[in-house]
Symmetry: C2
Subunit: 351 residues, 2 copies
DNA sequence: CTCCGAATTGCATTCGGATGCAATACTGCC
DNA sequence: GGCAGTATTGCATCCGAATGCAATTCGGAG
């Protein structure tokens, strides 16, 4: 027992099972309840008790079983975070930040990654089985699924997906507003013909961005607009630009891409295949403000999402609703941060 | 209590609690054991039984409680996935793929994101409390922590972190081999003076890459090598290149960066600040094979990690060890895939 | 030294599903 | 129709911690 055979049992009982609160109780000569109380926050326990129990506990390498605790307290202290395919370079950052926020509040993250944004059914089943305390999702659920979730009294917060019609909480970046800024700048710079490269058809974000741009263009009285659609990826961005040129016969004055990655694809295609100067011959703008958008070769003019504030907001909204289930749904929209890169010739100044 | 106030209970009992197997049993007029069996795979239950139970189950919206199940079966069906700060663009892909692999096998992912790679202590505590069935980590643990994990009989697989000395399983990309290829190509192309831009000092991957490059350079009899260190980020890449030039007085023939993102930083700095042609005046190579490395403006010569195969391998290694705890540790190293971009002038052909 | 209220501690029960064992219901076969 | 053999089903118990309630201890005041 105390002869280090291979050096890998320093404090562990040679026995199989992990130590339980009963084991600790026995060793410390107290009741199981006492052990349980020592490992809680607001529980009453004398200093002496605390010490005896702690001593026994770490002699046995005891750790409270979160599973058992979850069963009795009806709180798993886990939230589900749902992401769909991250073709969008921008999610990883979000994911890490969210995880850290939750972690700070003693909440664990159960991660679900969807192949397609429509694979929500099985994922929902899993979340429910694991009795997550809340759901933070970057994928949409059907109204029926939402009803199921509501029936289980699980708070949900949508991330950059607002079901306009549904009564749910959400945190999002105001896509329309951002697009309006982009359009205004481009128009002010004298551009009159536009190309719009939209993202995947099933992406709400993409649709919002497209509509935002189209509406603002219409408002500015600009009708020379060609739209092509892609999937948020680089290669597609290139193909979209080529298609744009082909369909129009010549490049437009400016291209508004659904995100930065596609904008970069457009820039490359414009330069390589069409021999255009960007900026100069054409202005190309994106959305998101991801890392590569800042690379010198592109320096994309874009609208950066305030990721930090958004994740903080999302996490706290969810946590609040876990604590207080009666809170009514709330939608928060954050303004994106305009980034004047060099991929577009913008008006000098007029914030 | 049973007058649908707002119309949001369509099949749900108006009561508070979620349905349990007892509720289902009662409604179906059978025993709780029967319900339990119907919801298992290899359990024996007659067709009639199955139907009655299922009918009752979905009338009540019953879902087995994974927490309770985990308590009795001693299997949480959750694995912990630990990632550290993802300044590396390459992780997100890994994360999603891993999650999907596990998901296919009915295993959930509990995500832990470290601020610094050294914050493993609290994270470890959490993992143990949640009784995860296995750990897949991209961060290192101390020998003592590993002993604790081993004591709890939890299998661990390291991802791109091999503790050479420790007896643990790991999946990695052979960094040295990749660097050797890069060096060979550069030398064959006639380059004789080198700059090495390494990553963060606490990154095993970075160290392996640097050593791989240095060893091969030494073997080739090349001694004109300057090393500067950064942190895997773009901005740092730029600063590193500047520092390199400053320290040497002039740019080297070639730069070997610790990863693609830094290589891109170097390329931008070389072009913008030094007015160099890349390739032409200087060759710059990276590692990883991330998306931006393929962007036309950079087209980085690099070694691509076979992410798909690596994640599959890692997931199955871990799952196997969960099923069969007696399996001995295993280290798998995958060869990277050489990618001849245009950021370096390489020899024509000699695979 | 005694008594009262507050703080500790222990007892017993609970959470929801899994499973060994015994009882019962079928199946096929002679 | 009867019987052995197998497939179903139910009973009782268990997993590990939390907690209401009662018993006990402790502290301080009079």
């Amino acid at each position: 027992m105390n002869k280090p055979a291979k050096g890998q049992d320093k404090g562990d009982k040679p026995g199989r099972r992990r130590a339980t609160s009963y084991d600790v109780a026995e060793l410390a000569g107290v009741s199981q309840s006492a052990v349980s109380r020592v490992f809680q926050d607001g529980a009453s326990a004398s200093k002496a008790m605390r010490e005896r129990v702690m001593a026994a506990a770490d002699k046995l390498g005891y750790r409270p079983n979160a599973i058992a605790r979850g069963l009795i307290t009806q709180r798993s202290n886990m939230v589900a975070v749902v992401i769909s395919k991250l073709t969008n370079l921008y999610y990883p950052e979000v994911l890490v930040q969210l995880t850290q926020r939750f972690s700070e509040h003693g909440v664990r993250v159960l991660l679900f990654a969807l192949e397609r944004e429509s694979d929500t059914a099985t994922v929902l089943e899993q979340m429910l089985q694991y009795r997550v305390d809340g759901i933070l999702t970057a994928a949409l659920f059907t109204p029926e699924q939402l009803r199921t979730i509501a029936g289980a009294h699980i708070p949900v917060v949508f991330y950059n997906r607002s079901s306009r019609d549904q009564l749910v909480s959400s945190v999002r970046c105001d896509q329309e507003e951002g697009e309006r800024w982009l359009v205004d700048e481009l128009v002010a710079a004298g551009h009159r013909s536009f190309g719009i490269v939209e993202g995947p058809a099933d992406s709400v974000v993409s649709i919002e961005r497209k509509m935002g741009a189209l509406n603002e263009l219409a408002e500015k009285g600009i009708s020379d607009v060609t739209t092509v659609s892609g999937d948020f990826g680089y290669e597609t961005g290139r193909r979209c630009f080529a298609e744009l040129v082909e369909r129009r016969g010549s490049p437009p004055d400016a291209v508004i891409a659904a995100n930065d990655v596609m904008a970069i694809g457009c820039i490359d295609e414009a330069r390589q295949a069409c021999g255009l100067q960007v900026p100069g011959d054409i202005s190309i703008v994106g959305f998101d403000g991801v890392g590569p958008a800042r690379y010198a070769a592109y320096d994309v003019t874009t609208v950066r999402q305030p990721v930090q504030r958004m994740t903080e907001s999302a996490a706290s909204m969810l946590l609040e609703r876990i604590e207080n289930p009666e809170l009514s749904p709330e939608k928060r929209a954050f303004s994106g941060i305009p980034v004047r890169g060099s991929s577009a010739r913008l008006s000098a100044d007029r914030s």
